[in-house]
């Protein structure tokens, strides 16, 4: 009985809190630019409106057009539920769950890419090609980051892995994971979530033909994914184990807020990179995680 209540509570927490993050980022951007900006709860209104709308279906599209977003949403929420939340631990924890999280994220990307290709539109294909080619490098970075954490903690269970190192290793890993966060969630130096010019957008180009509830699922899944990466970054840099229960929760919340505001500031202060410069930045992210791995390895051996 308690397990069911806990599951529902966690699920509700992830699902209800996630759309807040894009709102906070937009508020920070508006604040830096000196505008009033959309309300923090804007994404909730958008999701509610999209949910009530009908779906426009291309006559070419197979059921995969609807199934893709659903698969992606379920995979992302599943990955989120595997992630331990500070002192509360994870809902489900077993040996190797870190690998399952990586695979679920890859499955979510496959779901969105699959649905994007369904209509046969050229723009979606272009967006998908870009998204997937960035993902090749971003996934290498996140796998290296997971490897660093597991070498440091001598474990491949997420609950034990997220007890971070201190000093240089944590700084390197934090910088690497922050870059991965930006590329995985299509934030500014890689992709502009506000652009609506088909030739330059990546993630937005993939979802051009979606409407109604499937679009709502994609948007909501993207916000859950953002929250997932923010929590992962916070937990792999801040040693939450040193605090008692309520304090740790407060520190986690504060960390999530800090990272979100940081993303907003990066978006306000940086221009978008040219496409050909992106691989260089992604290689830098991989190298940051790789050097964190080196530090963890040397530290463990000494």
């Amino acid at each position: 009985m308690i397990v069911i209540v806990e599951t529902i509570a966690r699920l509700a927490g992830w699902l209800l809190l996630a759309p807040l993050l894009p709102g906070i980022i937009n508020k920070v951007k508006a604040w830096v630019a000196g505008r009033r900006g959309p309300p923090v709860l804007q994404l909730y209104y958008d999701l509610g409106r999209l949910w009530q709308r009908g779906v426009v279906l291309s006559s070419l599209a197979s059921p995969g057009f609807i199934a893709g977003p659903a698969v992606a949403w379920v995979a992302i929420v599943g990955a989120a539920l595997l992630l331990p939340l500070g002192p509360a631990g994870a809902l489900l924890s077993f040996r190797g769950d870190a690998l399952l999280v990586i695979y679920l994220l890859a499955l979510a990307r496959f779901g969105t890419a699959w649905a994007a290709m369904e209509t046969g539109s050229a723009f979606e294909g272009m967006g998908t090609a870009r998204e997937v080619s960035y993902a090749v490098l971003a996934e290498a970075a996140i796998i290296t980051a997971m490897l660093t954490l597991s070498v440091h903690a001598q474990s491949i269970t997420l609950v034990e892995m997220l007890t971070p190192a201190s000093g240089v290793g944590a700084v390197l890993l934090g910088a690497g994971l922050f870059t991965v966060l930006l590329v995985e969630n299509c934030r500014v130096p890689f992709d502009d979530p506000n652009t609506h010019l088909e030739l330059t957008m990546i993630h937005e180009a993939m979802i051009l033909d979606h409407s109604g509830p499937p679009l709502a699922a994609i948007l909501h899944g993207a916000s859950v994914k953002l929250l997932l990466f923010v929590v992962l970054l916070t937990e792999s840099v801040v040693p939450l184990g040193h605090f008692s229960g309520p304090v740790a929760c407060a520190v986690l919340a504060l960390g999530v807020l800090t990272v979100t505001v940081g993303v907003g500031l990066v978006e306000s202060l940086l221009a978008r990179l040219a496409f050909r410069r992106v691989p260089l930045l992604l290689t830098t992210a991989i190298l940051l995680c790789l050097f964190a791995l080196l530090v963890a390895w040397k530290g463990g051996a000494a």
Binding site: V168, L280, T284, L290, K298
Partner: protein, 213 residues
């Protein structure tokens, strides 16, 4: 003390990678200058008691590598009117990967070297080798004369770091002499760059291999 030294060397290794990845000359010169200053402060950390000779050389190194040489290079850059190195022989991503692979390899390899016990825990040998490798990659992989000078200076930073291992044996006069040579060398290069620019209308060193009327 040792952790402070290692932190500075780690910074120098990071700057190596920044130098390899940057396509703009001002960024490259800044990375080279900051690395020179970080390594210039090292003798002060390594000496346990105050020595006026060591302090003098450290101050001269910081001033020379941090301010005089970058100033000369920036002036040459403005005179030649170039901002960036657009056509490297080895691209930015491959050179970054080469540098990172080299750094990881020397850190792993340094353990196998027969070092003195007091140097075993320090990053000095890997840091020196990594800087030397970075300097080589920049020398080989860049086409503009100023980038190659920066590569040469990073190479020299590595050799300087290597020389610090022998700080108790070799007098710092040697380093002082090298520093003097280096400043004069960069000064001369600054003038030559200007001449090359006037004679050939470019600083691309690949063109210097062909004969010119």
């Amino acid at each position: 003390m040792n952790s402070m030294v290692n932190l500075l060397i780690g910074l120098a290794m990071g700057l190596n990678l920044i130098a390899l990845a940057s396509s703009r000359l001002p960024a490259l010169i800044t990375a080279m200058a900051v690395q020179g200053m970080a390594l210039g402060a090292m003798p002060l950390l390594l000496e346990h008691h105050f020595d006026w000779m060591v302090s003098l050389v450290a101050v001269c190194t910081i001033a020379g590598k941090g301010f005089v040489i970058p100033y000369l290079l920036r002036r040459a850059m403005r005179a030649a009117n170039i901002e960036r190195d657009m056509e490297p022989t080895i691209g930015y991503v491959p050179s970054l990967l080469l540098g990172a692979g080299g750094t990881i390899a020397v850190v792993a390899m340094a353990r196998a070297l027969p070092l003195l016990p007091e140097h075993a825990g320090s990053l000095m040998v890997p840091g020196a080798l990594a800087s030397v490798l970075t300097g080589f990659v920049l020398l080989i992989g860049r086409t503009k004369a100023i980038s190659q000078v920066c590569g040469y200076l990073i190479l020299e930073n590595g050799i300087y770091l290597f020389g610090l291992l022998l700080i108790h044996v070799t007098p710092l006069f040697v380093e002082a002499g090298i520093l003097l040579d280096l400043t004069v060398g960069v000064f001369v290069i600054g003038i030559i760059v200007d001449r090359i620019q006037r004679a050939f209308d470019t600083l691309d060193t690949r063109k210097l291999t062909t004969l010119h009327e």
